[in-house]
Amino acid sequence: MKMTISFIRTILLYIVIVAAVRLMGKRQISELQTSELVVTLLISDLASIPMQDTGQPLVSGLIPILVLVMCEIVVSGLMLKSSKFRRIVCGRPLIVINDGKVDQKEMRRLRMTTEDLVEQLRQKDVFSIEDVAYAIVETNGKMSVIKKPDKEQPCAGMLGVALPDTGIETVVISDGVISDFSLTLCNKGREWLDGVLRGKNVKAEEIFIMTANRKGDINIIKKDETK
């Protein structure tokens, strides 16, 4: 019986946690700020108690989880309204390389070793400190790097090359299923898609992936014949 209770509770808590993370927003599943990290760690810990210990009521896990979700929403709302509050909760970005010079004082404040600095630069495809004009440690712990102008890769604008604007490329058919949302994103409709498929003599059900962009460029990958 205890196994059944654990089974049901785990499903219930799974639903609650998924709903909680959805409620807290997309930020919770990407880069975490201080308060978000705290909430995520605590929720995972709190959920495991009533899951494993059937002697604990489910409410003893649900109440703290809901309180944390509520606090997180309120704190993120306050951070949106007040930059002072945001600075208190998240801190401020720190410049560790300023105008090409490594700021050792800031590195000490961050308890960041030279190895950490070089490692984070490498992750940004920068392999020499000399190439960096500015390196900023953001409030979520990630590093932003601005290279020196002479070390930057030239872009089309700098070279005076005009590139055609093809717009966003979207997956309009995925595993035989047509996505009207993706069609709308690339300014196309069902009529256009039917015409393309007729022209290529292929049915939607036979397609594994079909991508399209606003210009009308398409790419079709058919499903494998053998299952």
């Binding site: 927003g25 002697g55 604990q56 003893s60 109440i63 979700v69 929403i73 309120v74």
Partner: protein, 126 residues
């Protein structure tokens, strides 16, 4: 904005659940303590029949409230009171009054502890 409203709803739901928990624990423990103390007094006065009826009532009341309490209280705490109350009717039925009154005291202490542990006072918070 929708999320802020969601957090307000969560706050209201949590508030209702917490107040309901505190009130029902207090009500159940008070009722049960009164019944047990009446049973104890009846036993001390030599009215074993009344003490037996009251102890049976305490067991029955406890079983009814158990369904509510176990939704928000650790089951181990409730089991301890379960065991103490279960023995009481038999003790008075067979005339072991001393042991019956001792068990009454024990159950009252356990119920009071249950109530105190659920009360949002500073000692419990820190």
């Amino acid at each position: 904005m929708k999320r802020l409203w969601a957090s307000v709803i969560i706050l209201i739901v949590l508030g209702v659940v917490c107040i309901f928990g505190a009130i029902s624990t207090s009500r159940i423990s008070n009722d049960l303590t009164n019944t047990i103390e009446s049973a104890k007094k009846a036993a001390e006065d030599g009215d074993n029949s009344k003490a037996f009826t009251l102890s049976k009532k305490a067991v029955s009341d406890w079983h009814q409230s158990h369904e509510v309490l176990c939704t928000y209280m650790p089951h181990a705490k409730l089991e301890a009171i379960d065991q103490t109350l279960a023995a009481m009717p038999s003790l008075i039925y067979y005339g072991t009054t001393d042991q019956f009154t001792a068990e009454c005291d024990r159950s009252v202490t356990q119920i009071e502890y249950l109530n105190e542990s659920e009360t949002p006072i500073l000692q419990n918070i820190f």
